[in-house]
Symmetry: C2
Subunit: 223 residues, 2 copies
């Protein structure tokens, strides 16, 4: 099948959709009902063609000289990203980062509902963080099965991340959002997303190093 809706979306486009969504929701709240690719592109710093291509994956068609319906786009993006149906998730590692994630109440508006946290630290177990109970790790499998949870979030130190992942796999979790800086070893069928800060830091410090070590080369390239 060759239709645009049958074509799977490129990862980069997919990752831009939330930006569009955020921007469009903002427009909508200001009462704007129509928007063109040129406008979006100007505000979000993309060229209009790219915006148009990205938006085509939502299936929404625009009108020449007019643009797209903001409301239609917002709904279409939400539907596309699965933000209408709720994904219940659990989180392991109630440290600083885990706490930050639990406090991110905005996630629930985007289909992510963290139902409980797990940890091994006895001082944390039994407490409530932003209304979510912190439970002992060995009760995880039970919860997964009772509530039919598909998504696990790992915010533990790197050292224990693999062990936690193994537990998740055993419990029947299907997808892992991993904030620990390790490549998890899991079965093929698992969906894993690594949120590797060191990757970003690398890219960043490399660019910084370039700028402050070889400014001449940079300047030459600009001429």
């Amino acid at each position: 099948m060759k239709g645009i809706s049958g074509l799977s979306i490129p990862e980069p486009s997919l990752r831009r959709l939330p930006q569009y969504h955020h921007y469009l929701a903002e427009l909508q709240s200001r009462g704007v009902s129509l928007v063109s690719c040129s406008t979006i592109g100007r505000d979000l710093k993309y060229i209009p063609v790219q915006v148009r291509k990205d938006l085509q994956f939502t299936g929404i068609i625009g009108k020449p000289k007019v643009g797209y319906s903001v409301a239609e786009l917002v709904l279409a993006i939400e539907a596309f990203l699965g933000w209408n149906s709720v994904n219940e998730a659990l989180l392991v590692g109630a440290g600083n980062l885990g706490t930050a994630m639990l406090g991110h109440e905005r996630f629930s508006r985007f289909g992510l509902q963290v139902v409980a946290a797990f940890d091994v630290d006895p001082s944390k177990i039994g407490q409530y963080i932003y209304g979510k109970a912190v439970l002992p790790l060995d009760e995880m499998a039970d919860l997964v099965q009772r509530m039919n949870i598909h998504l696990g979030i790992i915010t533990t130190p790197a050292e224990v991340a693999q062990t936690v992942a193994d537990e998740m796999v055993k419990a029947g979790i299907q997808a892992i959002w991993n904030f620990a800086p390790v490549k998890l070893n899991v079965p093929e069928y698992m969906i894993v997303h690594n949120e590797d800060l060191y990757s970003s830091l690398a890219s960043l410090s490399c660019k910084l190093a370039k700028r402050f070590r070889a400014p001449l080369q940079e300047n030459l390239r600009l001429n």
Copy 2:
């Protein structure tokens, strides 16, 4: 110039380097001194060719039938990423996420030294988080100039991120590591890295949605 060292590294390769570094440092600590692309690839789930390509950017050459010197690679990657020289940074937004970042003592081993935090919340100002002072935001420019800081980390709510970014630009910051889910509007010369959780969440929930809504299609595609 056409030598591999003159060629600028592709972003994806750059972002894989920290993974290699982590893996190689682990090997090194276990006393392993030589390693081949095949081995790395097996453990990190990349095909050997890609590993070889990535490692070529470090300038280290390996020996056929033997592999690379682990120690050489580790040093070369650190040098390449600028992890030898320290980048001093400041952080704005001492909430949960900011606290998590301040507590990440491991950053200092990778050339990132957060020297202070800033916030507007009077209850936080004057406190110390993991040994870093929390200062009032209007003292930021002063610190930037006194300590010649180049990097700013934004861990504020989305609503104020742009304002903070403007302040950073005015103060003379060159690069921003942005954890707020907004596209920052800054001058062309600025280096900006967005750590957009919603992007990742989008990608993740889209895949989850696909799996649990259209399992038949997925199965068909596999046949």
